[in-house]
Structure formats: structure tokens, C-alpha cells
Amino acid sequence: MQKATIQLETLTCPSCIQKIENAVKSLEGVDKESLSVLFNSSKAKFNFDDKKISIKDIEDAITALGYEVKKSQVKAL
């Protein structure tokens, strides 16, 4: 398992949070329980299984929603 922190563009609408949450949760290999999308710091934090999905795929899923990914950090758990 890997622990990821993705810095997004500034989030302004709380429904963005719901969108990003649902989108990331629906990805195979992401630990749903660990996911939190932080409104004020505009970050998504979650654990994922790098054998099933790459951080790139997750970033793409968020970008596809129309949110820019500024930086992402991955650490082994």
C-alpha cells in the first residue's frame, strides 16, 4: 500500500469535494476508508494499492473532472 497526498487547485465549492470523493472512491485499488478530500487546504489524501492502480491513473481521474492537480506525493506505508 502507498499513501498519497495530492495538492489540487484551490477548491471553492463544497460540491467539488463530493465529486472528487466519489470519483476517487470508484477507482479500483483505492482504499475507500482512507480517502479524505480537504476543502480548505485543497488536498486529497488516501491510501492505494500500487499493484492495482498507478498514481497517474488517479490523477487523470481527477483532472478529467476538471480539477488541476498541482503536486502529488507518494510514500510507502
Binding site: T12, P14, Q18, K19, N22, L38, K43, L65, G66
Partner: protein
């Protein structure tokens, strides 16, 4: 294509504004209805594009967002050929979002400034012995790093070579530079003001003290209270419910105009955004003033505190006690003091340190069978004698006889506000020392401010004798004072206050008071950025600065009020809008959107006031 449109949102907003102006100019100025209609139609089609894309993406992940409501409303208005409404609603929605982003960035600025203090690069020693600039993420524990004058220390570490002065304001809030030499600890995020040092990395990234502070503040700004979680759950069902309501209205009244107006009016914007905005601004203000608040639950509880319990040593007083009075009951002073110093050297109790410091250089003896009596003192064997050093309680336990003179001295010393250290050798009292601590500067005024803010009970608890504690309480105007308290007595006392229904905050130095810090509704640590203080408490006063306590309390009260105001504004606006759509003539989609967007801005601006909050 989708991404391109979204990235050009601001330009689209501008174009639709221009088109709307053209439309109204042509209608009012030239009475040209053709241009009027065409401009508005184009403005609404163009404007709805980014909104519709967002709506589509939301629906794809099964979320009925505000975008969905607005898109349906605009499309509906377009179909019934009400281009005027369609254009104005899309423009207001886009422009509102733009303003929201700008103002939200402002409310978040205080915390952002803090996180931007984090070091980004480091000069790391490579295999060939040369230093090369690398990203701070690439530094591992044990790496050797070079820090030059003016640079930020990249990680927590120990100085290997070199000397310099470091400004540690980002960790302790203290702006006076601290001298560092070989073996000194240095902290990430602090700035080397002069000199050059090489350090070895001990802790990196999120494990550094600064990393922990940042993480704490970042978590705090997004931590949610029970009320907020309720609002979140509520809004998840609220938006789809508005959609359903609009459909029902449409089916029964066959009035599309009314149905789409409901869609616009029902947007929940201000409600969901109001509380987080107050929260982030309040915590941001605190971070700027050396007060770390751990989230909105803490703000809520702290604002309601009516009793504050203080630890004495290190909190109300400076925590650097000195021997002020002494009495020796023996011929051979040197021997007694030598025994005393030898025994006290074994302990790191503040009183023991004061005694050792006072005695200074003296002949030291070997100390054996050291036994620490909790809440009493130390008993040990020195040079074949049984030496007991501690308070009156220990002397009683050791069956030491206190004659009349000794008892008179003890009473006099206590009256002067001393803590007592008695020394008995082989069951006979040989020395009495009175140790006093100085009250922190300005504490009295700060306590007055707390009273003005509505705190009813100010209590001091201490392990010192009752006389000392009473003296401090009298001098500072505290409501209650209790001495002879062990750590477990303190937490028991807090439990008693809570049982009486009081909301209690405990202020301590965070080292030996963790049970009390944990038990009190609000644990306030006077920390110099120590890890323990940061982790066990709810509020941290940086650099042990007592004067930040009134600011912290005032700030949490202001923030809690601000949240309440925002909730009232948000709920009030939705109620008024919904009521007026059914009971008034003047309500339409555009006015609804205008009021809705305005209410969002009002709550953000209201939250922003907190950034400037200062205790009067």
C-alpha cells in the same frame, strides 16, 4: 475540449458580461429587440457551457451538484425563450464563482503563509564530498547538509561543524536569534541569520517539529464539528431534494417558470461554505498570533469555557525558582551542604536544581540507595548517613522532630511564599531552604482580561505548599488556590469541577500534566514547540507566551459567533427566497441567483473579518 472550456471560464464570464451589456444597450438605446435577443441567447449558450460540463461530470460520479440544478434551470429558461433570465443567471453564477475563489483565497491566506515557510531545497553532501542542491524530499535521515547565512534549515538536525545564530520564530514565535554550535539542535523552517553550519539530518519531512505544526494546522482547518458533519449530510440530500421538488411543482402547476425558479433558489451555497470559512479564518488568525487551535470542535468548546485551571510552576510563574531564604541548624555547614548538593544532584526536580545551583561548587559525596518518595522528596545514603531531602510531609514520614524554632522558621518561610526543602541527616533536621519562583510579567493583566471575557473561575493548582499558592493567588486575584497537589490530584480536581457542570480549560506546560490536559474539555499547553505539547493538547500557546491566552479565548468566541452568524444568514436567505417565490410577485430566477450569490459572498466576507480580529 472540455478542459479547454473550463480553463477559459474567466474569459467566458467576461464575454457574457459584454454581451449582456450590448443586449441591454441595444434595447434601451436603439430599441433593437433583434440584437437584444441574439446577444442574450449567445451569452446564455456560451455561459452555460462550463456549467453544463461540470454538471455532466458530477452526474457521471453520481452527484447532483449545484451545477446540475443551474444547468437544468438555464436550459429550461432557454426553451421557454426567456433568454434574458438564462443569460443573467449564467453570468451571475460564473461571476459569483470567480469572486468566491478570490475571497476564499484571502480567508485561507494566513494558513497559506505559514505553510509556505516550509523549506523547499537543501544543500546535501554527495558521494564525492561536494554539496549539491536537492529538493527537501530527497533528504534522508543521516544525510549531511550545509546551511549558509540567510538560508532556511531544511530538516531537524544536529550541528556537526560551524557556528551561527538562528531565528526560530517559525517554531517558537521568539524572534531573538539563538546561538548554535557543534552539538546544538536545529529545527526545520528556522532561518540561519549569520554563520555557516553543517548539520546531520535527524528527522525529515512531516516528522520535523515544523512539519508537525503545519500538519496540525492543515488538519485543523478542515476538521469538522458535529454540526458541520450534519450540514454535509444534509446537503447531500438537499440538492437532489430541490430537483425533485421542482419536478413535482412543474407536474402539478405546469408552470415551467416557477419550477426552474425553484431550482435556482434552492442552491445551498452559503450554508455549506459558511462554517468552513469562519473556521479557516479563525484558525489562520490564531496561527499568525502564536495560538494553534486544533479544529472547529476546539473552537466551539473553548468559546464556552467558564473555568480555567492553571498549573503554577512554569505557567503563572517563570518556572525558574531560586533559593531566597535559608537556615542551617548545624555547626558544620560545609558538610551539610555537601550532602544536600550530592543528593539533589540525583534529581531533576526544579526545586532540586535551584538548590544545586545555589550551593554551587562544593565537595560531593557518593550517593547510594536513592529512593524517590512521590510528593515528598528523596531519601538516600551518603557517607554512611541516612539523608532525607524534601518537604514537611517527608520529615513526618521519617520521624524527624521539628523543634519550636524550626516550626517558626517554616511558618515564616511559607508566609513569604517559599517552597520548602528540608534536609534531615540521620533523623535530625539540619537545613531549611526557602525557594521562590517569580510571577511572569503581565500575567495579572492577562487574567483580568480573561475575567472580562466571561471566565468565572480562575483556579491555581500546584504541588507547592498552600502558603506559596495562596500568595500567588492573592497577588493575581485568582478565585481559588490549592497546594500540595500531585498530578493525579489535579486531574481529580478537574473531574470534580466537570461534575458540577463547569466547562474547564487546563493550562499547563504539557510535560508532567498530561492527565489533566487530556481530561479537561480544553487542554492548553504552554509549549515552546515541543512535540509532547503539540500532541496532547487542544490548544498550543507558542513560545510559552501567556499573553496569548486572552487572545486565544477572545478569538474562539469571535469565531464561534461568526459561524453562528453565517448559519443564520445562509438559512435565512434560503427561507426568504423560498417564501417569496410562493408569496410574492417580484421574485424571479435572476433576482434569486443574485441574492444567492450575494449571500455566499456575505458569509465569506463575514468570515474574513476574523483575520483582523484583535482583543480590545
Amino acid at each position: 475540449m472540455q478542459r479547454f472550456i473550463l480553463s477559459k471560464k474567466n474569459q467566458i464570464t467576461l464575454i457574457s458580461a459584454i454581451l449582456i451589456i450590448i443586449a441591454f444597450a441595444s434595447k434601451l438605446g436603439f430599441e433593437n429587440t433583434n440584437i437584444f435577443i441574439w446577444s442574450l441567447a449567445i451569452a446564455s449558450l456560451l455561459g452555460v457551457l462550463p456549467i453544463a460540463i461540470q454538471a455532466y461530470q458530477a452526474l457521471k460520479v453520481k452527484v447532483v451538484s449545484i451545477d446540475v440544478l443551474v444547468t437544468i434551470a438555464v436550459v429550461g429558461a432557454f426553451l421557454i425563450k426567456n433568454f434574458e433570465e438564462a443569460a443573467i443567471v449564467t453570468f451571475l453564477f460564473l461571476f459569483g464563482a470567480y469572486l468566491e475563489q478570490r475571497t476564499l483565497n484571502k480567508t485561507r491566506s494566513a494558513i497559506k503563509e505559514l505553510t509556505e515557510l516550509a523549506p523547499e531545497s537543501a544543500l546535501k553532501q554527495m558521494g564525492n564530498g561536494e554539496f549539491e542542491e536537492v529538493e527537501v524530499d530527497e533528504v534522508d535521515i543521516g544525510d549531511i547538509l550545509l546551511v549558509r547565512t540567510g538560508a532556511k534549515v531544511p530538516v531537524d538536525g544536529t550541528v556537526l561543524t560551524g557556528e551561527g545564530h538562528i531565528n526560530e520564530a517559525s517554531i517558537t514565535g521568539e524572534a531573538i536569534p539563538v546561538g548554535k554550535k557543534k552539538g546544538s539542535q536545529v529545527y526545520a523552517g528556522t532561518i540561519l541569520e549569520n554563520g555557516t553550519i553543517q548539520i546531520v539530518a535527524d528527522r525529515v519531512g512531516e516528522d520535523t517539529t515544523f512539519g508537525k505544526i503545519i500538519e496540525l494546522v492543515e488538519e485543523a482547518q478542515d476538521s469538522k464539528s458535529e454540526a458541520e458533519r450534519f450540514i454535509d449530510r444534509f446537503s447531500k440530500y438537499y440538492t437532489p431534494a430541490v430537483l425533485v421538488l421542482a419536478i413535482i411543482v412543474w407536474i402539478f402547476s405546469q408552470n415551467i417558470e416557477l419550477a426552474i425558479t425553484i431550482l435556482v433558489l434552492g442552491c445551498p451555497g452559503a450554508l455549506v461554505i459558511g462554517v468552513p470559512v469562519s473556521n479557516v479564518a479563525g484558525i489562520g488568525n490564531g496561527a499568525r498570533h502564536g495560538v494553534l487551535l486544533k479544529g472547529s470542535e476546539v473552537i466551539h468548546d473553548f468559546s464556552k469555557v467558564d473555568s480555567i485551571v492553571f498549573d503554577k510552576t512554569g505557567t503563572l510563574t517563570i518556572g525558574n525558582p531560586k533559593v531566597a531564604d535559608k537556615e542551617i541548624y548545624a555547626e558544620n555547614q560545609h558538610e551539610v551542604l555537601g550532602y544536600l548538593a550530592s543528593v539533589e544532584k540525583e534529581s531533576d526536580h526544579p526545586l532540586a536544581k535551584a538548590v544545586v545551583e545555589y550551593i554551587g561548587d562544593t565537595k560531593l559525596y557518593t550517593v547510594e540507595n536513592t529512593d524517590v518518595v512521590k510528593g515528598g522528596g528523596i531519601v538516600a545514603h551518603v557517607d554512611g548517613h541516612r539523608v532525607a531531602v524534601g518537604n514537611v510531609f517527608l520529615m513526618e514520614q521519617e520521624n524527624v522532630h521539628l523543634n519550636e524554632k524550626a516550626r517558626a522558621d517554616i511558618a515564616k518561610f511559607e508566609e513569604n511564599g517559599n517552597s520548602l526543602v528540608l534536609t534531615a541527616i540521620d533523623g535530625e533536621l539540619k537545613a531549611l531552604m526557602g525557594i521562590r519562583d517569580q510571577i511572569r510579567l503581565g500575567v495579572k493583566e492577562d487574567l483580568q482580561k480573561l475575567k472580562k471575557l466571561g471566565v468565572k473561575n480562575l483556579v491555581v493548582l500546584s504541588g507547592d505548599n498552600q502558603g506559596t499558592v495562596d500568595l500567588v493567588a492573592r497577588e493575581l486575584g485568582l478565585t481559588e488556590a490549592h497546594g500540595h497537589m500531585l498530578p493525579e490530584d489535579k486531574s481529580a480536581y478537574i473531574g470534580k469541577l466537570q461534575a458540577k457542570g463547569q466547562i474547564v480549560a487546563f493550562v499547563g506546560d504539557g510535560v508532567n500534566d498530561s492527565p489533566s490536559l487530556a481530561l479537561a474539555q480544553i487542554g492548553i499547553a504552554m509549549g515552546s514547540g515541543t512535540d509532547v505539547a503539540i500532541e496532547t493538547s487542544d490548544v498550543v500557546l507558542m513560545n510559552s507566551d501567556f499573553s496569548r491566552l486572552p487572545h486565544a479565548l477572545g478569538l474562539t468566541k469571535a469565531t464561534a459567533n461568526n459561524m453562528l452568524q453565517n448559519i443564520i444568514i445562509a438559512v435565512g436567505v434560503v427561507l426568504v427566497l423560498l417564501a417569496s417565490v410562493f408569496f410574492s410577485e417580484w421574485m424571479n430566477m435572476s433576482i434569486g441567483m443574485l441574492v444567492h450569490e450575494a449571500s455566499i459572498l456575505v458569509v465569506i466576507l463575514n468570515g474574513m473579518r476574523l483575520l483582523r480580529y484583535k482583543l480590545r
